[in-house]
């Protein structure tokens, strides 16, 4: 095994699944996800030598994946694609409770992503890293090459905006938690 193979085994192999999922969660379209993933890999390739010596390479690589996927999301939101795709069709073919629930879930997913797509870049990427990928503040700060307090500020501002944009959905979480319990 040469140096490069060892580097790949150390840097990429352990987080391959996380990288793919991170892109898919934000993309949700096979072509867009593949484009974003390719874009992310290209960035990783270009920054390979700095990633090799980075104090937290996994957080940095995840950040690169999220950035690429988020760029695609912003483009789609700007083009109004999410609004159309997220809308519930007038005639739901299966009116059973589970079908309606699925449709509602898909709509909420679209609404959440659309709201994230409306956030400024730094805030969106910070909240995605923190809330979705569950990366600790300190590691996000290392990946973004900024202070931990800056990351906290981005996340706080993102939450404030999202709370307004998603106000109709927040009670639903309580409700689901209660019913699950």
């Amino acid at each position: 095994m040469n140096d490069r193979q060892r580097e790949y085994e150390r840097l990429i192999a352990p987080i391959e699944d996380r990288m793919m999922r991170a892109v898919w969660r934000i993309g949700r379209d096979p072509n867009d996800a593949e484009d974003a993933f390719q874009e992310a890999l290209l960035t990783v390739w270009k920054r390979w030598d700095s990633i090799v010596t980075h104090p937290n390479p996994h957080a940095l690589i995840l950040h690169i994946c999220i950035n690429a996927a988020h760029d695609g999301l912003r483009r789609r939101v700007r083009q109004g694609k999410w609004i159309q795709e997220g809308a519930i069709p007038e005639n739901i073919p299966d009116s059973s409770a589970s079908a309606v629930q699925d449709m509602s879930s898909a709509e909420q997913h679209g609404q959440v992503l659309r709201a994230i797509g409306l956030l400024p870049k730094n805030q969106a990427r910070a909240i995605l890293m923190h809330a979705v990928e569950e990366v600790p503040y300190r590691e996000i700060a290392t990946a973004l090459d900024c202070r931990e307090s800056t990351v906290r500020k981005h996340v706080a501002r993102a939450r404030t905006k999202l709370r307004t944009l998603l106000s109709n959905l927040i009670p639903a979480v309580h409700k689901e938690e209660t019913s699950n319990a």
């Binding site: 793919m20 934000i26 104090p55 959440v112």
Partner: protein, 439 residues
């Protein structure tokens, strides 16, 4: 506390609404990308100096020391040791040196992209050479033993030669010789470009390298992979006086890679018929049967441009006559009188055509096609006798004469037929093929 709960609720909402399973088909596509990426990473050359520099720079305590040391090294190297040599010049010099000293070299010259006309070259020290043309002719040479085999795959014939004639041909330098004799410095730097994840630096030579001359050479642009410091591809622009410029491309350059030795095997393939050369020391006896080869002298000259209506064909060449009859009938309906005798161009049995030269302004509709061939350096030779008679033998003699004069075929072969259809004794055939100077 309420704010903390509220944050938790919101994060939970985002997490839940974005937790979706990765569909299998999407995972397969993304894994495919990862595999490509992995292969590319594994081929990436090591960069130990940069790695060391980064590791130093990420240790705050060492940062000042590292910067001071780097500054000192830069000043020493930049001012004292190599004050006049730029990094880009070093990349070119390194690639040129590697080409000069490498024991093997392989590449493809694309003479024309559409239709695809190309020649694959393989060189292996001390004197093995192979030239494989896309139109079905292959030449394998062992310079050390002075033996050579010319294979004509379309006709399933071969010509085995040895002795001084082969030695002199083996010494003809093709583009390999030119690539292996690049000067230390280029005439011009063309800048950088990124292709397929590779950083390429371009260099231009305005004159052919010392070991070769390319008639009408306008520019020879060499693009070097900055990471590996190896030649990636070459673009050659040629413009002879009064002629439009055209480009050739050298692609798939492999320097110092392991070459399959069977490429230089001089054993005739099974089922191929030998062609005996008059006066040649070595006559093929492996197959038992052999064709006699006439003595022919190819004439090299700038051929005239040609406009013609042809019938694009695929399948056996024996259908040439019916293709010509179809073109003739079509021209009759257009009331067009052919401007010359009929001809056929044979690239391969999957792609050939036959037709008639026509006056300017003639048009053609499918399935017929109007073609315009530019004036180009052409080898030609005429033979009397029935059309198609001794075809393999005379083509072998013709191509042998072309190579002996220091030229290489650069396009599909063509036959032009004159005479009376009913009287084979009064028929004649002109063989013609575009050529390029081999050195």
């Amino acid at each position: 506390m309420p704010e903390k709960n509220s944050n938790h609720d919101l994060d939970e909402l985002i997490r839940r609404r974005t937790q979706v399973e990765l569909p299998v088909e999407v995972e397969q596509r993304l894994r495919g990308r990862l595999m490509e990426f992995r292969a590319r990473v594994e081929q990436r050359p090591p960069d130990r100096w940069r790695t060391l520099a980064y590791s130093l720079m990420h240790q705050p305590a060492l940062r000042v020391m590292a910067m001071a040391a780097a500054l000192l090294v830069a000043v020493t190297v930049g001012v004292v040791l190599i004050p006049r040599e730029s990094g880009a010049s070093q990349v070119f010099a390194a690639a040129a040196a590697q080409l000069r000293t490498s024991p093997s070299l392989e590449y493809t010259i694309v003479l024309n992209a559409e239709p695809y006309v190309a020649v694959d070259f393989s060189y292996l020290a001390p004197g093995y050479r192979r030239i494989n043309c896309s139109w079905g002719i292959e030449v394998r040479t062992d310079g050390a033993t002075g033996r050579q085999i010319v294979l004509m795959h379309a006709a399933r014939t071969y010509l085995l030669e040895s002795g001084k004639q082969v030695e002199s041909q083996a010494n003809i330098e093709d583009f390999a010789g030119q690539l292996r004799s690049l000067p230390q410095k280029a005439d011009e730097e063309l800048g950088e470009q990124w292709t397929g994840g590779k950083k390429l630096i371009g260099y231009r030579l305005r004159n052919a390298p010392p070991n070769g001359s390319i008639p009408g050479l306008k520019a020879l642009d060499i693009w070097i992979d900055a990471g590996r410091r190896e030649a990636d591809h070459v673009d050659i622009t040629v413009q002879e006086r009064g002629q439009p410029a055209h480009q050739m491309h050298i692609r798939n350059i492999r320097v110092g890679a392991e070459v399959n030795r069977s490429l230089f095997d001089l054993t005739p393939p099974v089922g191929y018929t030998a062609i005996a050369v008059p006066g040649g020391k070595e006559r093929a006896s492996e197959s038992g049967s052999s064709q006699s080869i006439p003595v022919l002298q190819a004439r090299i000259a700038l051929g005239a441009p040609l406009t013609a209506v042809v019938m694009p064909m695929q399948g056996p060449y024996a259908r040439t006559r019916s293709a010509l009859q179809a073109v003739q009938s079509y021209l009759n309906t257009l009331h067009v009188i052919p401007a010359g005798p009929p001809f056929g161009r044979y690239e391969s049995e999957r792609n050939w055509d036959a037709g008639y030269p026509v006056p300017p302004g003639t048009s053609a509709a499918a399935p017929f096609k109007l073609i315009s061939l530019p004036a180009t350096l052409t080898a030609s030779a005429g033979v009397n006798g029935g059309w198609g008679q001794d075809s393999s033998a005379r083509w072998a003699a013709f191509l042998k004469s072309v190579v002996e004069q220091g030229y290489l075929p650069a396009g599909p072969p063509m036959e032009i037929w004159s005479g009376d259809d009913a009287q084979p004794a009064h028929q004649s055939t002109e063989m013609r093929i575009p050529v390029t100077k081999a050195q």
